[in-house]
């Protein structure tokens, strides 16, 4: 299995939302639906403060509860990777996968009703390109690559910097890392 992942540097991210617009235009999403979003976390009291910006999306977990819970196999892994996709032709819209995702990273596609989500832009990955969000980021704070390959940019970043993942305690083994 090839494990793709994202590494996002919260210290360089400015929370501009370019990733969100790039995702929406690249993937032609209807207005009002989002596959990614940006969170700003401020800690401390004036004037002793820190901020952290996080571009968030599906974590393409190694233990993908959404895939496990899908009754029809519509939620599946792309090829031999951890990229979680939904096949609209198999999706009944039962929404179990939505409930199964601790990150609330899935959405109901309008008007069709099947379940949609971040695809890590597998149509771009297939061509050797980065996902749209990563390749649009004006601060270059987002990185994409193969996590188990020690020479990849993402692996090198993870080896050299402090990091965290979101909701580690759920046991989902997310593959989007945040440098802190």
């Amino acid at each position: 299995m090839i494990r793709y992942g994202m590494v996002i540097d919260t210290q360089l991210c400015i929370g501009c939302g370019d990733c969100v617009v790039a995702c929406k235009t690249e993937n032609k999403l209807p207005a009002g639906l989002n596959r990614d979003w940006v969170v700003e976390a401020t800690r401390g009291r004036y004037p002793d403060l820190t901020t952290e910006f996080r571009s968030e999306r599906c974590n393409h977990c190694s233990h993908a509860t959404c895939v496990h819970t899908c009754p029809t196999g519509a939620s599946h892994l792309w090829k031999d990777t951890n990229i979680v996709l939904v096949d609209p032709g198999k999706c009944t819209g039962c929404k179990a996968c939505i409930a199964a995702c601790p990150y609330d990273a899935r959405l109901i596609m309008t008007p069709d009703g099947y379940i949609d989500k971040c695809t890590f832009c597998h149509h771009r990955v297939e061509k050797g390109e980065d996902p749209a969000c990563v390749s649009s980021c004006p601060t270059h704070c987002m990185h994409f690559g193969i996590l188990d390959e020690p020479s990849s940019a993402v692996s090198r970043l993870l080896a050299s910097r402090q990091q965290k993942v979101l909701l580690d305690e759920t046991g989902n083994q997310p593959n989007v890392y945040y440098l802190i």
Partner: protein, 331 residues
């Protein structure tokens, strides 16, 4: 102090600000499923024990309600699907890790067994219907078949009823992402609640004093167990992880406190328990049909609140920096 904000608006319908993917349809389906389980359990038991003289309603008239209630339940499930035309996809694969897949295949087994269970009791329970069915070769064939294999049908009915009853709870408790659901008490709770609902149905339907008396006693026991399981569930959550503690707090304060206590525990659990206890003491009056109705109401409310609470409980607590309703202007 932590201020955590969504600085790009996130307002995915039915997902933000907290899940609202399941409205009344899934609770109603779970209720119907549990009720079916209870019906089949009691009916199969009476058929197996050959106590149909003693419990005429349960053994003869109740079984036909299983396929009917189940059909209505499955209709509700269908109504909930947002991509309805692909419903047949449930039956093109079996996903061993998916409770819902298990459920859909269990239903596929439960359904014919519930029909056979109804068929083997049809001629005694509903003679006019039995005669009607017997006019059709296929109907007569099914009834004859079921009567020949009465015991086997009842055995299957018993086993599948327990599966079905547990399944309605496991369906939710398997969602580790939803703290309120993520407890092992949901499965027995939903099974017991389904049995209690079936007992209430018996109380509404029977004209037999012995049957009524016995099932009142059964229901009192079931409601008591149910109450205990609810208490255990809350204790289990309240002593769990941070998000589970937060989830349990929703019923002790906040928006769910009134629905939970005033609209569920008191009228749907405590009141039927008290009324049925009175009834056992021989104080039954004509208006006592209220207690089984309340018990049925409580059975539905249990699922409705559980589904709502689970959807509201979350690992995430993001707040939009800007009014998400403004995105409706674009939709």
């Amino acid at each position: 102090m932590l201020e955590e904000l969504l600085v790009t608006v996130r307002s995915n319908p039915k997902i933000d600000p907290s899940l609202g993917i399941w409205s009344w349809e899934i609770p109603a389906y779970l209720f119907m499923g549990g009720l079916t389980a209870g019906i089949m359990l009691f009916a199969s038991l009476m058929v197996l024990l050959a106590r149909d003289e003693e419990f005429p309603f349960v053994a003869r008239k109740l079984p036909i309600w299983a396929p009917i209630v189940l059909s209505v339940g499955m209709l509700f499930l269908f109504l909930d699907l947002s991509h309805k035309l692909y419903v047949w996809r449930f039956y093109t694969s079996f996903q061993p890790s998916s409770p819902m897949s298990w459920g859909s295949w269990i239903l596929l087994l439960v359904y014919p067994v519930s029909i056979l269970l109804a068929a083997c009791t049809l001629r005694q329970g509903y003679p006019w219907l039995g005669r009607l069915v017997d006019r059709f070769a296929i109907g007569k064939g099914i009834v004859d078949f079921s009567c020949r294999h009465r015991a086997t049908v009842a055995q299957w009915g018993l086993v599948l009823a327990v599966f079905l009853g547990f399944y309605t709870g496991i369906l939710l408790s398997a969602f580790s992402a939803r703290p309120f659901w993520n407890t092992g008490f949901l499965a027995p709770l939903f099974l017991v609640s389904g049995m209690s609902a079936a007992a209430a149905l018996v109380l509404l339907g029977t004209r037999n004093e012995h049957e009524r008396h016995t099932f009142t006693r059964i229901d009192i026991v079931l409601i008591t167990i149910k109450l205990a399981l609810i208490a255990l569930l809350l204790v289990n959550l309240a002593t769990g992880s941070g998000v589970q503690i937060e989830a349990s707090q929703m019923v002790f304060g906040g928006e769910f406190a009134i629905p939970f206590w005033v609209f569920f525990i008191i009228p749907g659990v405590m009141l039927p328990l008290i009324l049925e206890y009175w009834e056992l003491k021989g104080r039954r009056r004509a208006w006592m049909f209220i207690s089984p109705v309340l018990a049925l109401y409580g059975g539905y409310m249990l699922r409705h609140l559980t589904v709502d609470l689970g959807q509201t409980s979350s690992y995430l607590n993001y707040v939009n920096a800007f009014d998400p309703a403004l995105l409706d202007l674009l939709r």
